[in-house]
Symmetry: D2
Subunit: 304 residues, 4 copies
């Protein structure tokens, strides 16, 4: 299977649709709103280390909620099953920033991929040490090159993050958070503002298709069981309110972000990252989703 | 009708029950938790200026949510009907600090007596000037003597007010608040920490039984229609989840606070304040409620 | 106070607005949808037996939810406080036919004036005997003339009452209903289809302004405390989601129906019934509401 | 891989736990309550037609919610994508019989595996013809032998199905159902009462591991895309509130029933059915779940 050819084909098919597809770039913060929607990148890395890429695969973008996958990984490494004491692992059925379920379920977030859950994960990372430093260090080791936070995006997130501040305070009131709300939110807002390229994400998330082993060094990032846990969570909860549609149309563990990136894992084969900033109504990258559907159609790779 | 005698009788009947009644002092902040439950005070002031009091009627207590009635008055004075642009006027059917309804109704609080509504009122007062100074000035004029904020209580409220901080940020995200969240919350927490005696509250709220006229000076505090609005809100929404029970058993507009105070209005007759710190399961003063029931039974005064 | 003159004035002021006001006749069943909106009637009866009426006060209309007030009265007569074992007495904050609160609160309806609560009341009446016969007998005694059910309306209610059937089955599943669902619903749908005139309603509900005594015979229909209970429920829960507005603008215990009728009680003075079929957005009679506001403005009668 | 040996080992390991595991047989209807918990059966059928079984694999049990998978298949065969007009495809995050989400989402059930969704599927089948006859005919063809409905169970379901009756009427009120509620519920209750053995289920559901082709005849039951849709729904929504846990611990599309059965699909390999009546707190077979975990551990078969 010529993976480079397939990515080239996908790029050729979708690039003409840029700007005509009807999606919208996330506009809740200025730094995201002014990203040009006329960009499309795709990159993959196989278990054997083969790489392929096409389009704007080397352009850094704001990974946003895709960071939840990496912060979860960092927390599982240290806490393993203890992480789940006050964080659920089931699909939520509610919007990613809803407070309703949080009130009904006494402050326990449904899973680590809704905002409340990721804030709770950030709280655990704060308890463990210098969360941001650790996360960037992990990403740097996974990519083999330094990864940075976009300070302007982080500041914008903090300035407008009223709903996330509400979620954090709400959980603090229920005892779900151990640390100071402002500290936890600072970590969370900074995570969301990490900038990476498709190539970097495809490499960094490579442990997810390799039973947890480091894509470059081969040392374990997660155990095999922990890796399955993350992949299972991605499939059931990784794409906001469209997890069911993603499971059907793509059939791979995916994690998306409102920056327009989506990472997908083909267990035992490869990790793929696609990016295009215009989002559909569910908050997932419109062309990113189409690219993944094309990839699955062309390769037959799907877990189902 | 010998009102002094009636208050003396109520005091005699209920005082023996202090400490045996099963209620509990509010414990969510230390400054409230250490208030002795063995206190009971009652005071009233008629439209004609007659006063009566019994028990611990001159002991200052934390008025807490009773302040919502005064801050609402201050806001109505300046904004009249414009106040209701982003604040509802209907019973909520949900706990006073619930976020569920707020999410369903896009950040518009149901009424000014649930916490979210009172925070929205505080926001309007911030827009109008120095909210705390104005409120204390109003209370001072209404009582004829200076009224103060208990700084320790205010600080405790701020330190533990995660749920209220969540509510404020949530509303800010929906555009219900115009001002900085921290500023609004500071005003709100300070209001809750106002300390007054039963005698002071009965005097200060005297305009509510006099069609809005100042209890001492006779000048209008509110218009007649505005006064009816406040009384109607007190009857339908003034006592947390027990408004229906209060309407039946007492049948008067009431506003309670978790400090153990309850103010009741007999339109065209008198304003009454009762205080006893131990609360029932609905968050209303246990003996305060019984005192009001006795008062209504002895005087036949009820709106129904 | 010349009450006949006041009703004539109200009729003169509002009749020109018929058909121009923008309200809509209830359309969920054909028998209601074809009622002409160009009708307005008003009638009252004082504690002393004085009567006054104007407009279409002798035209029968479908009393719909106003029947909840009479069925509640019948149930309280037999069960008194035991009625409240599995029925609440607090405002609901939710639409009159919502299932959400019912699920959260394990099948216990919030109050007897939302549909679920009235169905639970109907269940108790079924347990006590022939509910419809008893209710018509009570209404006949209260009015001094026979009262009938509109069979076509009852059949329409039954044919389209899916939401009410859902509510009843839901409560049955929680154990809130003792009797067969179909039997209870039959009673409920028939109650809603009772037809009465403004004059009849004003007379029949006369016990509510007379501490429970029969408007004609003087014998007790309810005790004084039971009457206060019903009036308090009407004020806090009697007009769907507009109870707060009614409390402010009218300030009287009221119960409305989607047939366009509203009954209002001035304790110790009189009972009033107004009817005009076009409804506002809250499901209350548009001109009926204006008529009550005019009445209160002209007479100064309000509980606040 | 000796599949028969593996099933024998699982049976040997788990059978001693029967009666000691703490689970509970479903007790909401007598016919299910009196099933002995001391039973455990397991059977599988590979794509190539190899079979293996152990324990009580030939004992018929009530398939209950597992029938939702077959009725969905029948509906997709006729309606394909049109089925999804008024039925969602996302995880619900709420209990399988909740009405809350149904009210919020205007009568559209979240997916075909919660009760409301399966009732909506039954409605479509009623529109298409004699639903029960068709379903039994399909199951008969899939198994190569006649399948029957347990009439006693069906009657018990109907007698106690208040919550399901509420769901159906609620949806009917929203226009989600086209047919008469009683007819639709009759079909639904009968489906739930279908009795099958593990061997029969493993054979009947064989098309799910074979891209939709008939396990015996090879003719298409579903298209390849339709089959992926069903498998994706099973993985994300097939095991009540434990879909996330199943995805992690088992990692296969599964559909469970309160009769104690669970069917699992290993795409391109085999279909497996396990049965043991005692349920865990999530309503899934306690030993069935353990059996699937053991199977995955022993075979390494998982989609992740």
């Amino acid at each position: 299977m010529d993976l480079q050819l397939i990515l080239d084909q996908i790029n050729s098919e979708l690039r003409p649709l840029l700007g005509t597809s009807g999606g919208k770039v996330a506009s809740y913060i200025p730094a995201l709103a002014r990203v040009s929607p006329l960009q499309f990148g795709i990159a993959l890395r196989t278990c054997e280390g083969e790489v392929a890429q096409a389009g704007d695969s080397a352009v850094p973008f704001s990974i946003q909620s895709m960071s939840k996958m990496f912060s979860l990984t960092l927390a599982i490494r240290s806490l393993d099953e203890a992480l789940w004491d006050r964080i659920g692992r089931e699909p939520s059925g509610s919007p990613f920033n809803s407070l309703v379920q949080l009130e009904t379920e006494r402050g326990i977030p449904r899973n680590p991929f809704i905002n409340a859950g990721a804030i709770a994960v950030a709280d655990r990372l704060v308890s463990l040490g210098d969360a941001n430093v650790e996360l960037l260090a992990l990403l740097g080791r996974l990519c083999g090159e330094p990864i940075r936070i976009d300070a302007e995006v982080a500041q914008s997130e903090a300035d407008t993050g009223f709903r996330n501040t509400a979620l954090a305070n709400f959980m603090k009131g229920f005892g779900t958070l151990d640390n100071d709300v402002a500290t936890v939110l600072d970590v969370y807002f900074q995570q969301c503002a990490i900038a990476m390229t498709c190539e970097q994400v495809a490499c960094a998330a490579g442990y997810l298709c390799r039973d947890g082993r480091h894509p470059l060094a081969g040392v374990p990032v997660l155990s095999s069981a922990q890796t399955r846990r993350v992949n299972a969570l991605m499939l059931t909860c990784g794409t906001y309110d469209a997890a069911g549609e993603f499971a059907f149309r793509i059939g791979l563990p995916c994690k998306s972000g409102v920056g327009g990136g989506i990472v997908a894992v083909v267990p035992d084969r490869l990790t793929l990252c696609v990016w295009s900033p215009a989002l559909d109504a569910t908050g997932n990258s419109l062309l990113g989703r189409q690219a993944l559907e094309l990839f699955v159609a062309k390769t037959g790779l799907s877990v189902f």
